[in-house]
């Protein structure tokens, strides 16, 4: 089974004095034993979503191990549907949304419309959770949708709510990028099941190995470990069954 990191970045951001090239990300993946990574471009997060998404597609086309994820910001509302449709046409394998940095509410009207358009696109959608109540709001707002929703970046203080959300909403999954409390992987497997947890790291700005070590060092079956580290992502994102647009 090949490992898949569903949370990586390419590009740079103005607040960071570190500079990582795509080759650095690939080297980090090699060192950690990660075969595939889903990549969002910082330009799409920080500057212009459409331009950044195109850049992600262009860079990911240079390596069969990198898969582009489109950043969608519902806040402007106007033009968001076009951004979603273009990302699908370009071959992006999923979406990533950030309510906190992009200042929108999951329960708001603009988000509701964006969720409808994302549902039409049918790709897995990771949504970064940075505050109490956000996971619940995301799950409630997408409850009628058919798309898988992945709660991403959930820290230990917000994890209880995320577990409760996954218990109630079958379309929701959890990105394991900050799982660090003792026994947390076992707790998640017992409560929501290993088939709903997807490994992600935040590389290259964050080390890949800590979260992997938590998963590998947990007392779960080898099948569960393989599912979390790669199998679930390959299934949800249908990696391997897609061809990149030229």
């Amino acid at each position: 089974m090949e490992n898949v990191d569903i949370h990586t970045h390419i590009g740079t951001q103005p607040t960071d004095d570190r500079a990582y090239a795509t080759a650095d990300l690939l080297r980090m993946m090699d060192d950690a034993g990660v075969q595939h990574a889903l990549c969002a471009h910082w330009g799409a997060i920080r500057y212009d979503a459409r331009e950044g998404n195109r850049e992600a597609v262009r860079i990911c086309a240079t390596s069969p191990r990198l898969w582009p994820v489109a950043v969608i910001n519902p806040a402007p509302h106007v033009g968001v549907r076009d951004t979603i449709q273009e990302a699908v046409a370009l071959g992006c394998v999923g979406f990533r949304l950030m309510p906190g940095p992009h200042t929108w509410e999951p329960s708001g009207a603009a988000a509701a419309r964006a969720f409808e358009w994302l549902d039409d696109a049918g790709l897995p959608t990771a949504i970064e959770i940075g505050a109490a109540g956000q996971a619940t709001a995301v799950a409630t707002a997408t409850a009628g949708a058919s798309l898988p929703v992945i709660l991403a970046g959930v820290n230990y203080a917000l994890l209880g709510e995320a577990i409760a959300v996954l218990e109630r909403h079958a379309h929701c999954y959890l990105e394991a990028s900050r799982l660090c409390t003792p026994g947390v992987v076992e707790v998640l497997c017992e409560t929501v099941g290993s088939n709903r947890i997807l490994f992600g790291s935040g590389a290259p700005e964050w080390h890949i190995r800590p979260t992997m070590a938590m998963i590998e060092g947990s007392e779960i079956t080898s099948g569960a470990t393989e599912a979390i580290l790669g199998g679930n992502a390959q299934r949800l994102y249908r990696l391997g069954s897609r061809e990149m647009a030229p």
Binding site: G160, H207, A213
Partner: protein, 255 residues
């Protein structure tokens, strides 16, 4: 790596209100065995978040029968008289090798005069302090205190957190500041920058267990290329020197 003595300079004992598996000192010992940690310096979660005296007493009792466990006396800056009593209570307890201060849970920021007074008490006590340090303002305030109390060795918990760059710069200017990088956001390049700018002597391995599983931080440090001597200092010998702990007899298992 297996021959290197590993000392975790930042542990807690006691439960946390988050999903995970919690308990008493047996959780620390189990995690240390599973993650290859030979010794630990521990503070009481209860002493930090609820009852200082009761938590310190529970910790002192819990580590008594384990030769590889050492304790921090937690001080609460909001309770200076009670904090002074705690220092007197553990003055002659060799296994209590340092002081712990948590700026967040005590409600006293680093710039609060009560925090300064607590650090002055620790300086008089004569053992190192582990202090929760998060953000650029906290790092700046701590650097000023460190300059004013050069006899006090201060372990900067989380190395400043999101202000780890400022934490490294402060440690470069203040030789009595030491950095512990325990954090749930495992930034790449941070430890490497510390090694480059201040050298290995002021960097200590800490995990924030049992809030965090030591596997998380061990994996972060294991992923950083460094020589055996440097790794030995960071992972263990710096802590032995800082806390005045003797190395023999503490190793209880092979990592």
């Amino acid at each position: 790596m297996s021959d290197i003595l590993v000392v975790d300079a930042h542990q807690h004992v006691g439960p946390w209100p988050f999903p995970g598996r919690w308990g008493g000192i047996e959780v620390n010992l189990d995690l240390m065995t599973r993650r290859g940690i030979d010794a630990a310096v521990i503070s009481s979660t209860r002493a930090i978040v609820e009852n200082m005296a009761r938590g310190n007493a529970e910790l002192a009792e819990a580590i008594t029968s384990h030769g590889n466990l050492f304790g921090y006396v937690t001080l609460n800056p909001t309770k200076p008289d009670a904090s002074r009593q705690e220092l007197r209570r553990y003055e002659n307890v060799d296994r209590m090798v340092g002081v712990k201060i948590h700026t967040h849970y005590s409600g006293c920021s680093m710039g609060d005069p009560r925090t300064s007074r607590a650090l002055e008490m620790a300086a008089e006590w004569g053992k190192p302090v582990l202090i929760h340090t998060w953000g650029a303002a906290a790092v700046a305030a701590l650097e000023q205190i460190a300059a004013r109390l050069p006899q006090l060795n201060i372990l900067v918990a989380h190395a400043g957190g999101d202000a780890w760059r400022e934490g490294i710069a402060a440690a470069a200017r203040q030789p009595n500041l030491y950095l512990d990088f325990a954090c749930s956001t495992p930034d790449t390049g941070a430890v490497e920058r510390a090694l480059d700018q201040i050298g290995a002597e002021q960097v200590l391995f800490g995990t924030d267990a049992t809030l965090f599983d030591p596997a998380y931080m061990r994996a972060r440090f294991d992923a950083i290329p460094m020589g055996v001597e440097t790794r030995g200092k960071i992972m263990g010998s710096n802590a032995l020197s800082l806390f005045g702990i003797a190395a023999p007899n503490m190793r209880t298992k092979a990592p």
